[in-house]
């Protein structure tokens, strides 16, 4: 199953009532209107370096992660 199909199934479970669905649809629009999509860093810009740890305490920096090969960097909202 494609990722989006799974996500839509998950979403259907969370948006079980119309009130909930309306709140989340409105929120997606509100967030869009804040202009955050336009403010996000874009193609052709430099990615700011960082140094972070994983849950086991292992450190990783962007410079290390991308040093030898192209990197897909994914921002997760949470872990579920």
């Amino acid at each position: 199953m494609a990722l989006q199909q799974k996500l839509d199934g998950f979403r259907a479970n969370f948006e079980t009532d119309i009130r909930r669905k309306t709140i989340l649809d409105n929120e997606a629009l509100r967030v869009k209107h804040t202009g955050v999509e336009e403010h996000a860093l874009k193609r052709g810009q430099r990615a700011p370096d960082f140094e972070l740890s994983d849950m086991a305490g292992n450190q990783a920096s962007l410079a290390q992660l991308r040093a030898e090969r192209p990197l897909a960097l994914i921002f997760y909202r949470g872990l579920w």
Binding site: Q4, L24, A28, A60, P70, L71, A72, F75, W80
Partner: protein
């Protein structure tokens, strides 16, 4: 859920000579008893973290997400909805965090640190398919 789909693609990402990493403000995964974790488990994608072999890095207080321009706040209505669903973002993200989350985003970054491709959408319920990310990585490897 996205991390399970990406985990499936991770061996191929490494095989083509690329790397994968994730950043999240969440300090730790939701417990297996959490309602959302249970829904995920029913769909065959839990528990979180099991079998994952690519780095997932903790972005305390969304500092890096801020640097990428990705964080957004919450309306009172949405915050109430999240609290009712046992998603206390402040608690999940750690004491220093506030009620902000990054937009779900995918960045392809080349060896020089330049951004080659971005997928960012204000509707966090929509994500790129791992296959598309893989194709973008292949292009970046080839260039």
């Amino acid at each position: 859920m996205e991390q399970f789909a990406l985990q499936e693609s991770y061996p191929e990402i490494r095989q083509i000579g690329a790397q994968l990493a994730a950043i999240t403000p969440a300090k730790q995964p939701l417990s297996a008893e959490h309602p959302l974790a249970q829904v995920a488990a029913q769909m065959g994608v839990g528990p979180v973290g099991e079998g994952r072999t690519f780095p997932v890095l903790w972005d305390e207080g969304n500092r890096i997400a801020d640097a990428f321009g990705l964080t957004h706040d919450f309306s009172d209505a949405t915050r109430g909805l999240y609290m009712a669903a046992e998603l206390d973002i402040e608690a999940i993200n750690g004491a220093e965090a506030v009620w902000t989350l990054p937009l779900a985003s995918t960045y392809i970054i080349d060896k020089a640190g330049m951004i080659r491709h971005v997928v960012v959408t204000a509707d966090w319920r929509v994500r790129p398919e791992p296959h598309d990310t893989l194709e973008r990585l292949k292009q970046a490897v080839a260039d």
